[in-house]
Symmetry: C2
Subunit: 144 residues, 2 copies
Amino acid sequence: MKPLSIGEVAKRTGIRTSALRYYEEAGILPTPARVSGQRRYDADAIHRIDVLRFAQQAGFTLEEIKTLFNGFGRETPLSSRWRSLAKAKLRELDLLAVRVQRMRHAIELGLKCGCIRVEDCTLSPAHIPEGNGRREKAGCARSC
Amino acid sequence: MKPLSIGEVAKRTGIRTSALRYYEEAGILPTPARVSGQRRYDADAIHRIDVLRFAQQAGFTLEEIKTLFNGFGRETPLSSRWRSLAKAKLRELDLLAVRVQRMRHAIELGLKCGCIRVEDCTLSPAHIPEGNGRREKAGCARSC
DNA sequence: CCTTGACTTCAAGTTAACTTGAATATGTAC
DNA sequence: GTACATATTCAAGTTAACTTGAAGTCAAGG
């Protein structure tokens, strides 16, 4: 397979050229070969982009994917980097799932409120036990 | 109950003073009474803040909450504004739940990959059928 | 009178993951 | 050779929901 231009890669992977350049700039993808200044992507590069996309759709942040690709020192095999990140991500996903159920419950509770004015509303945060207050990043996956 | 200062409301509701001012600025909360320039919140105002917090924890965006409080024209009772938003939000939550399960599945698939280098990895986006490409805001709740 | 603490406004910064725009260069078709 | 598509870099903009910082006001305590 011939090396592809950035536009062809974009068509094939569904990732915009601006995003591809951004990943490169951010150190997530290696800088591809150049032909008179223009990027040329070979099969390996494209495969790496596919894996990136897979990981991203599975809920990993770009920072995590960068770690997956480059981190942990050069000797660690990919599969064990995967395991390390994936286990943490699974825990996060489980927390998110619980949260979603709580939210569902809260909304169904809200649907039962027949109030006319805000002042008459019987809802209050006491009814939805989310534990602590604001600003918890935990339990929250990407692309949200 | 005496009117409370913004700091006291913050303590009581767990919402920072900066956030309270922000909500007011954004037109989500009404401007409270003032005593020599300083905000004083009465019981109604505090109740409204509680409802705001409830809705927010249930996954509504501030924009939706603003609509809930002010939108729909003055005549529509709160309960029917609720229903309208809540039903849409429930659908969103269900989509999110499905997505979370797909993500779980993808990650478990990733855990099975025994690859050493990225190039050997057998994963690709084909294995995780997320439907279309990027940038779908749907199925995604707040505070993520 | 002076300090301390809580309050005020307003502008600008934060985070993630990109996108958009401007100015310029290169490749392809006719 | 002349368009026109596509490429390049770089800086700045986008979104949501706030936070942070600067500079100033105000009341109470010692």
